[in-house]
Symmetry: C2
Subunit: 344 residues, 2 copies
């Protein structure tokens, strides 16, 4: 029988995690006091903004523990946070990981979760500097606080889009939403894991490198990641910048995979694109003449596509979709809302 | 019927919390971008260490939601984190609050929880700069990340105690453990809340002001808060400083309330003092000749007693208790361990 948390105890588990991170994690400079103490201590760099974000994943709510490997779950939880730092143009540096786990969980699963964390942090030279582990009876949770830094002049905001700006998006939003539908509808849980859209849901790509390159270029006016769905986050830009937006449906980048999946699922691919979908792509606004520079900035780090999908307008809070026949539809931003009746 | 989270939704709830914090919270300097964004941005002060701690409270594990008011629960969750920052000699500055809540929870309860957070942060000029709220089905949780600062030369550690040092403790550890016993054994849930030892459990006092004063004095060699119980945390000092300790049982500060309670509960007051108890007092070590200065430092901010209870020795990892008859008992540090069988 595999060793469980009940077998090794909290301190035994922490000891194993320290060992694992020492071996498989990197050491970030600037840490005066790291994991193992109640409090971590770091020396921030002068001239830099310190960024702090936290995101919590709960089983049954943000992931399905029986349809994702512990390694992928660890990666996913860290990606969600890295995405937030990257959307500000920042570099991830230090993570604190709070876990709520069940006593019958195999130790190897927890270790693989930490491998997943390290796998995402290591490329940035970022590390886990603290956290805590708590016993729970029910749905496990992973709550991560991630600290990062960005040069003071390069901080990207959601509140600085201007009427007339072009709206750009990285990658293919909507894929994760389709992947989630496949996961929910599948009978055999393991076979489906390798489906490309299921992978898009289980281990989404953050665009932190791209976000940093965009921030460094100086050509973006605003930026946000699509953690609340494309429309939800475009809505955040509109609300916080006091602007509106028009989107051209034909320009929305629908991947061939998503088009196929939508057919199979009997769903509208544009709805999948616009509504809740955990893709962690970036929405960027820029003066129209600078859109090409945004594309070049992204191309300098990766080959992810950047697509111009519409324009920022001065109709505060109003987002319109122009259909192929030229008619306009008012679309209300609906992001993640976990509490209202019917919400996931 | 009171409004629940399902009635107002996640964004509705967040809007209410913003309003509440604007009215009842303080604004901490140095925040470039605060609550409402996915990521907060701050400008740390040069010459200061940035401290980061996180602690998670889970219903049934760290508190009993039917035996604590939402206001007190908010206070308690924040105190636990403030205590960690204070034990390093630090000043609390910025909090991120992650909540796992049930949809049928009254909005007023969540608001009162935030009032509790603000009540503890306000005296430090500290504020909530971010966080997130997630729907859960079962036991609610409160996971707080607290950032603070301390002058680089004043950072207090647990790893710097020296053989020959005096061991001092603030207040009366063990009271919270007795309070928890009363809570667990009580039938009528509300009457018991005002019992002084139940209050010691539900709304423990942190010693952050005292910790700062001790750090500023420069006379302490090591410091830690008693979040893992007196013996658990003395054990952390011994392990991380590669030292041992002797304690004199007759010197342990057992409050009159605790002595009475122990009789009533048929428990040993010294066991209550030494083992798991959520009092959040401070253990301080200092050269013996400087013990009086530690007491003066604490007296400069508060009238909480400071008691010398033993000495640091060079017997690495060995903690002994000298009984009134002069015999010595080896006592193994047992701190919080949530996973091993039989652990809470």
């Amino acid at each position: 029988m595999p060793k469980t948390l009940a077998d090794v105890g909290e301190f035994g588990l922490i000891h194993r995690i320290h060992k694992l991170l020492k071996k498989e994690g990197v050491k970030t400079p600037g840490v005066t006091l790291g994991i193992g103490d109640d409090t971590a201590s770091i020396r921030p760099r002068p001239g830099y903004e310190l960024l702090v974000t936290c995101d919590c994943l709960v089983d049954g709510q943000h992931f399905l523990s029986d349809r994702i490997t512990p390694l992928d779950l660890g990666r996913r939880a860290m990606v969600v946070n890295i995405s937030d730092i990257g959307a500000m143009g920042g570099q991830p540096l230090y993570a604190l990981v709070s876990l709520g786990l069940k006593t019958d969980m195999p130790v190897a699963d927890v270790e693989n979760m930490y491998r997943g964390f390290a796998m995402e942090l290591n490329p940035f030279g970022a590390s886990i500097i603290g956290g805590n582990i708590t016993k729970i009876r029910d749905a496990i949770f992973i709550d991560i606080t991630l600290l990062g830094e960005v040069e003071q002049s390069k901080l990207m905001l959601r509140s600085t889009a201007k009427a007339g700006d072009a709206i750009l998006v990285t990658g293919y939003p909507g894929q994760a939403a389709a992947g989630l539908q496949f996961l929910l509808r599948s009978q055999s849980r393991k076979d489906i894991r390798e489906h490309p859209l299921v992978r898009a849901f289980n281990t989404p790509s953050h665009r932190a490198r791209e976000g940093q390159a965009i921030a460094r270029s100086g050509y973006a006016t605003a930026m946000i990641d699509t953690s609340d769905g494309f429309l939800g986050d475009l809505g955040h830009i509109c609300q916080d910048s006091s602007v509106g937006a028009v989107l051209i449906q034909e320009e929305l980048p629908i991947s061939e995979d998503l088009r196929q999946a939508a057919l199979e699922l009997k769903l509208d691919p544009y709805e999948l694109f616009l509504q809740d979908s955990d893709d962690y792509e970036l929405i960027i606004t820029s003066r129209p003449k600078n859109a090409a520079q945004i594309c070049s900035a992204v191309a300098s780090v990766d080959n992810v596509p950047v697509t111009e999908v519409g324009k920022i307008t001065d109709s505060v809070g109003d987002i319109q979709l122009i259909l192929p026949d030229g008619t306009r539809r008012h679309i209300t931003p609906v992001g993640w809302d976990h509490f209202t009746k019917g919400g996931r």
